[in-house]
């Protein structure tokens, strides 16, 4: 099955590297360049970390930080208003989101704000949201000022970058910034964490987080 590759990837890295996997959802109006942005990111990386997928609606890519490999499973959503109601299925449970707008189309910025609001209300409380002002190469047609978007992002606590999928400007930077902001604990699978932790039978008094002999 095609998803087998997604897990096999982790084996290519050295054992001491921590691997964190995150679901990242792409939101934004139609034709703002959501998938171009992600394709630029995915294709621009080393082949070693690239995964083949059947289409661009779902892509997977890893970025390496110092001691951690952060793997993104990127879920694209349809930007048409008609399919708005399906979005929660995609963003529920996502740990990161990129909300994309087109700097040449102010209405897409308004739509982006609506997405951010919806995410902050309905998505996981600690979701990392990045705002991307895409098509920055079309500076001469700019209708959304950098300062305006920057101020909005600061007010709402978002990562913000102007990007260009065409020139690759800030594309990797955006994903790296998100990767750095992700919690690096393996929160995805608490069982895994517990399993590998083991129990130290020889040092019963160390790391006592719960009351000793107190029962549960």
């Amino acid at each position: 099955m095609s998803s087998r590759g997604s897990s096999g990837r982790s084996n290519g890295t050295l054992p001491q590297t921590k691997i964190c996997q995150f679901k990242l959802v792409l939101l934004g109006d139609m034709a703002v360049g959501k998938s171009s942005l992600v394709l630029r990111f995915v294709k621009g990386q080393f082949d070693e970390f690239q995964e083949t997928t059947i289409g661009a609606a779902f892509l997977a890519q890893s970025v390496c930080l110092d001691d951690t490999t952060v793997k993104f499973e990127i879920w694209d959503t349809a930007g048409q208003e008609r399919y708005h109601s399906l979005a929660p299925m995609y963003y529920r449970g996502a740990q990161a989101a990129i909300v994309v707008f087109d700097i040449t189309k102010p209405e897409t910025f308004e739509r982006a704000k609506a997405w951010v609001k919806e995410l902050q209300r309905q998505a996981s409380p600690n979701i990392v949201i990045a705002l991307s002002g895409n098509k920055a190469d079309l500076a001469e047609k700019r209708l959304v000022e950098y300062e305006e978007a920057q101020a909005y992002a600061e007010d709402t606590g978002l990562l913000f970058m102007e990007t260009s999928a065409k020139t690759a400007m800030n594309v990797n930077e955006l994903f790296l910034a998100i990767a750095k902001k992700m919690p690096k604990t393996d929160t995805q699978n608490p069982t895994h964490a517990a399993r590998h932790r083991g129990v130290n039978l020889q040092d019963p008094d160390a790391h006592s987080t719960r009351a000793c002999c107190g029962g549960n």
């Binding site: 099955m1 095609s2 998803s3 087998r4 590759g5 997604s6 897990s7 096999g8 982790s10 084996n11 290519g12 054992p15 590297t17 921590k18 996997q21 792409l26 139609m30 959501k34 998938s35 394709l39 997928t53 059947i54 289409g55 661009a56 609606a57 779902f58 499973e73 694209d76 959503t77 349809a78 930007g79 048409q80 208003e81 008609r82 399919y83 109601s85 399906l86 929660p88 299925m89 529920r92 449970g93 393996d186 069982t191 895994h192 517990a194 399993r195 590998h196 932790r197 083991g198 129990v199 130290n200 039978l201 020889q202 019963p204 006592s208 987080t209 000793c212 002999c213 107190g214 029962g215």
Partner: protein, 723 residues
Amino acid sequence: MCLPPAPPSLPPPLSPVVVSPPHPEPPVPSDPTTPPSSPSLPPAPVTLPPSAAPPSLSSVDKLVGSVSVWRPEGLTRDKSVCILEKELAGVRPFLFVHLEGSSLVFDDIFKLISFYCASRPSLQAKGPTQTSQETSYKRPPPPRPPGLGSGTGTNLSSHQALTSVTPESERKEEGGGKEERKSISPPPSRPPVPLLSRTAPPLPPAPLHRSTSSSSSRKSSVKERTGGDDGQNLAKINENKGKEKPGAGLLSEEAEQEASRRDEEDLKTVKEDKLKSQVPPPTKKPSRPVPPPRTKPSITNSPVTNQSAGMKPPPPSPVRRQDVSLYSPQGGAPLGPDLDSCSTSSTEEEGETNQESPAESRGCKSAVRRTPTLMLDRARHRLSTVLTGLIYHDGRLAKRIVELARDPLSYFGHLVKDHRAFTLETMSNHLTSTELLQEIRQMMTQLKSYLLQSSELQVILDVAHIFAESIVEGALCKSVLKPLKEPIYKSLEKLHVGAGSMEQLAQNQSVILGSTTTALGITTAVPEAPAMEKISIKLNKLHQEYSPQKKIELLLKTCKIIYDSMSISCPGRAHGADDFLPVMMYVLARSNLSALQLDVEYMMELMDPSLTLGEGSYYLTTTYGALEHIKTFDQQRSATRQLSREVQDSIHRWERRRTLNQERVNQGSVRDFLTVYCPEDGVNPKTLGVLPTTTIQQLSEQCAVRFEQGKSLFFTPKLKDHR
């Protein structure tokens, strides 16, 4: 979770924990003493020479006698309570045993103890005998690791240190990140002996855990249980295997032959050894090249291995046992990707096994990385040969499990049959389709846990096999889901018709069908008639398929056809969700939605929870979302009404259910069920439900009732309630 507790009539997949002396019958029928079986111990028999009657030890004796080994020094009862109370409820700590240069991981304390108990008497019985047999070896007394209690003083010195978890082992595990637990079954490990190593065995005289060489003893030695059909079947297989000569093109068999030739050479210097040891290898020599089928740490994992065990006279060289170290290239366990992550592979049918090659080579690669300085090119080559062989055997293993599940006389077959019957009986009681499917998934998960842990099936399946889980999953799909598929679909349909969702779907389908491509938001080409035909065939096939995993593969193939036909107008352009979802709608409006609706549910709920679905999850979500969209489409506003909160959350809840299910798999079923064998009673084991609060006395009473025997038969005097 909306799962009701299983009624008492539900035949549970049973834990392989064995209470009374049950172990695979030794080849010497007159020998009454067998070590206690345990889930981690393969049923390969411990053969004792008839002349050397070993001291008769009961399980309890062994437990008590070995207390100093499995209970770390200075650890009082209070302290251990302290430690264990810090553990989250439901999280089962894993136990690590450190041997020189290697570590073994046990699922629970029982496996660890059983491992020790089982290895101990064989050592005691056999140590001297073997020394006399293997005169060609020098065996200096093994180094005695510090910090080890002297135990009962009988034969501990010939034993490797079993130390409790060390911080080092913790680090190792944590450092491994996603590395899976490497639960290897220690005793059967029979790593290859390269010729060179024969001369340098600074090892204890611990004998090998091997089958005997004579064909007559081979037959009996593979018999798994008293009267067990499995064992007999296996013996037959072995016989057949023995007759067959290496299949053409099967590299591993050639290599196996080579290895066997060397075995024979070994034999010239060493007398035949009928003894087996379950002692783990004390040292590690990872640089050895890997003779093919023996990479796996169990003798039981493949017919070829069995063949070699049965046909070739085994060299009893202790050196053979050296390299089961988890990090050695011969250890087997760490070679491949972790169980969870590689279980996406479908090994159910041999035709599919090609797909595994990339993963295999990845596994190979990672092994190389782990021992970069030690892996020679030659070893690497051999390793890939081995892996090729393994792929071939995966299909056969799956077949074997399916056969076993069908065999009404086998214990597992009986379990599967009971489960199926139970499911059929209770199917109509469920109120929602999710509930119904979840119960079936739970049953499969339990059966899988059983298979992976039971000693019964280790004859044919090595738990440390890198694809063990996916092989078992595939086999279970075949033996459980295949016969149940039709009834499941009937029940699902009934539930949906009752809820009116089928009608709703059919009504709105015609609305969507009447929408223009613009209205649907389509900006690309849509599938033309030939593509639609292909899609229809794929979806039809998807509907027919019983395996959730294969269904998802077919769904992905369908999506691929959609993508391809979208690109016809502008080749090379990658299409994101903006483009894809509308075309998906277009396609679905022209498909059999009522069937697909059931299919989507079936896939979502019955899919192996240990799979990381990734792409599959995305397109399942998309298909599910599209169906919900069609269902709630508002004709007046030509838009979809806000989906209900329930529907919006459904994917999230589904993912959480899967996680829960996976946790259940990880925790296994050992804690819930106990399988008891009563030698006086004949062959039928009984399985008892064990609650955390069950006392030993209650257990004894249960045993008495189930076996219809006097209570006195069921003694458990010193064994403390492990809860």
